[in-house]
């Protein structure tokens, strides 16, 4: 089931080094790129159907086309390498194992959008990864693939790595821009959207690492070749991270559109230690949960996820076996989102803390049935009443656990016990 488009060089020894990367095709698309008109590059990406791989799935080429024309201002590209959504661990493979693929993708994007200064925003925790990336950038400069004349062509491009310092919210694109500008990462109200008014008040494109790393293949082989993979509306391949209770957790590149249960079984080796499947988080911790029954008809693409009232998200699939205590899981997630709220909007700053307190109260066996209803009410009163979607990233999954596993909350209230008999989580 696995394919090797983005991950083609992941298992080649020393592919992070320029010399080895070049033997395997790195920067070989530049001559073709610079022979094209920039607008033709955007059109090719548009017709490839490539969608933003950070989580929202917005068509990449369309995003680029929102840049205003004829403005006398610089255009910026910021590459989002914040990768902080729990269960998401895909972009770092590109940063460490094939950073030149990312750099080549940056060159392609910058040429298309007319950008000469790109910033890569990388989460602060990625210490070894930032070193690998910077080393690759330094090599690319030395070899003339970055700088005054990219690959000998009449195109200047500087790429700068900007390190975050431990704030999940900086994966939100406008918080990311604030952070590069030297401020705390509090999201901006939209509109104006970054394509019109972004970094330093200038038109800015923000794309995820994996989105950008998909570009060299599209330029080399064309949109049609890319569309051979995946589904009609969700074309291409994706780096899926499968974690939790599976036999073979890890990162796998797969075409979009495969049945989720088959992937868990055949690619990830099935549920750990032969236990029964309880639920699946399909695309990172903020995506609503699926029961095994729901999952029967779910395929790994944007449309199927939406039809099942969840989201494709970042492709981070978490498998939960029968021993998982859902109430404790909600506590774990609520604590994450409460901690990561930037504090700007009251419903999020206060509300997520209330959710956490009530869940803790239920776990202390002090909860009432009214508390369960209050959790639902809180979700309704927090969601979409804030500048960004961080609060919804908490309330959407919490609501799904309350809907699908309400009996587990009720068991704590009524019997004063966990619905689980064999609970091993803390």
């Amino acid at each position: 089931m696995e394919v090797k488009i983005l991950s083609a060089k992941f298992n080649i020894k020393d592919a992070h080094k320029l010399e080895v990367a070049r033997q395997h095709g790195a920067y070989s698309r530049l001559d073709k790129l610079f022979a094209m008109e920039p607008v033709a590059v955007t059109e090719e990406v548009k017709s490839s159907g490539l969608r933003g791989r950070g989580g929202a799935g917005f068509p990449a080429g369309l995003k680029w086309s929102f840049l205003p024309k004829g403005l006398n201002k610089p255009v910026y590209l910021t590459v989002n390498s914040d990768e902080s959504e729990p269960a998401t661990f895909k972009d770092r493979f590109i940063l460490v194992r094939d950073p030149h693929l990312l750099i080549e993708g940056i060159i392609i994007c910058c040429y298309a959008i007319g950008c000469h200064d790109a910033y890569i925003y990388i989460r602060g925790e990625y210490t070894t990864q930032v070193k690998a990336l910077q080393a690759a950038i330094d090599e690319a400069y030395s070899a003339g693939f970055l700088g005054e004349k990219v690959g000998g062509h009449d195109f200047k491009l500087d790429v700068t790595v900007h390190r975050g310092a431990g704030a999940y919210i900086c994966g939100e694109e406008t918080a990311l821009l604030e952070s590069i500008e030297g401020k705390k990462g509090q999201p901006r109200s939209k509109p104006p959207f970054p394509a019109v008014e972004g970094l330093y008040g200038c038109p800015t494109i923000i794309n995820n690492v994996q989105t950008i790393a998909s570009l060299p293949y599209i330029i080399e082989n064309g949109a049609e070749a890319y569309k051979q993979y995946g589904t009609e509306k969700s074309p291409g391949t994706h780096l899926f991270g499968i974690s939790g209770h599976v036999q073979k957790p890890g990162m796998y590149e797969l075409p979009l559109g495969l049945p989720i249960l088959e992937v868990i079984e055949k690619v990830a080796g099935g549920v750990l230690n032969g236990k029964k499947l309880k639920a699946i988080i399909p695309g990172g911790s903020s995506t609503p949960v699926l029961t095994p029954e729901d999952a029967k008809t779910v395929t790994l693409d944007y449309e199927s996820m939406a039809a099942h009232k969840t989201m494709f998200g970042s492709g981070g699939i978490v498998v939960l076996d029968e021993t998982v205590d859902i109430v404790k899981l909600v506590e774990n997630l609520a604590q994450f989102y409460h901690h990561e709220s930037c504090g700007q909007c009251t419903p999020c700053r206060e509300g997520l803390g209330w959710i956490l307190k009530i869940v803790k109260k239920i776990l202390r066996r002090e909860g009432t049935m009214g508390d369960i209803d209050l959790l639902v009410e809180l979700c309704d009163n927090i969601e979409m009443k804030t500048v960004c979607v961080l609060s919804a990233a908490c309330t959407m999954p919490v609501r799904s656990y309350l809907n699908k596993f309400r009996h587990e909350f009720e068991a704590y209230v009524n019997q004063g016990t966990s619905a689980q008999t064999d609970v091993k989580q803390g």
Binding site: G182, S285, F336, S341
Partner: protein, 168 residues
């Protein structure tokens, strides 16, 4: 949300060493505004000293030409900036989702017993500090522990024992 606000005054002046000085000058050319140097400047300070003092905040503000309050705002908002000295071996254990599912609590409990430290504490001899942190992006090799920035994946108590033995 970070609720850290207290800075420590050391009574000693702060300045970059030669290496950080050069790196600051290299980076400042990369941004159209000097304020963009706030996060990189805080990182350079932490690399040099291990933490960020009140004097360092003042130095950075002065060097960039911005208000100390703007530097303070970033130093307190971003939780990876240490506002006090940490242990020589700063151990971070991921507490979130996949690491939680795959047994991070055993790791925390073992470290608590072995080092006599709760998350957030520093040992009296300054050898260790312990912290539970949010998702470290290594969910496929959970549970994960980060020691002084180095990742240690698929951790269990036995591997932890051998790891602790190598720390000075």
């Amino acid at each position: 949300m970070s609720n850290r606000s207290k800075l420590i005054v050391t009574g000693k002046p702060f300045r970059y060493d030669q290496e950080r000085d050069a790196e600051f000058e290299r980076l400042v050319k990369r941004y159209p505004t000097r304020e963009s140097m706030i996060l990189p400047a805080l990182w350079l300070t932490q690399e040099q000293e291990g933490w960020i003092s009140a004097e360092a905040i003042a130095y950075i503000a002065d060097r960039i030409g911005t208000f100390a309050s703007q530097v303070y705002e970033c130093a307190t908002f971003y939780t990876m900036y240490n506002l006090h000295p940490m242990g020589r071996n700063h151990i971070c254990i991921c507490r979130t989702l996949s690491c939680w599912l795959r047994g991070k609590q055993e790791i925390v409990d073992y470290l608590k017993d072995e080092l006599g430290l709760k998350p957030g504490e520093i040992s009296a001899d300054g050898k260790f500090s312990l912290e539970e942190v949010e998702c470290l992006g290594h969910c496929g090799t959970a549970p994960v522990v980060q020691v002084n920035g180095e990742f240690h994946e698929n951790m269990d108590v036995d591997k932890l024992k051998s790891l602790l033995a190598t720390l000075k």
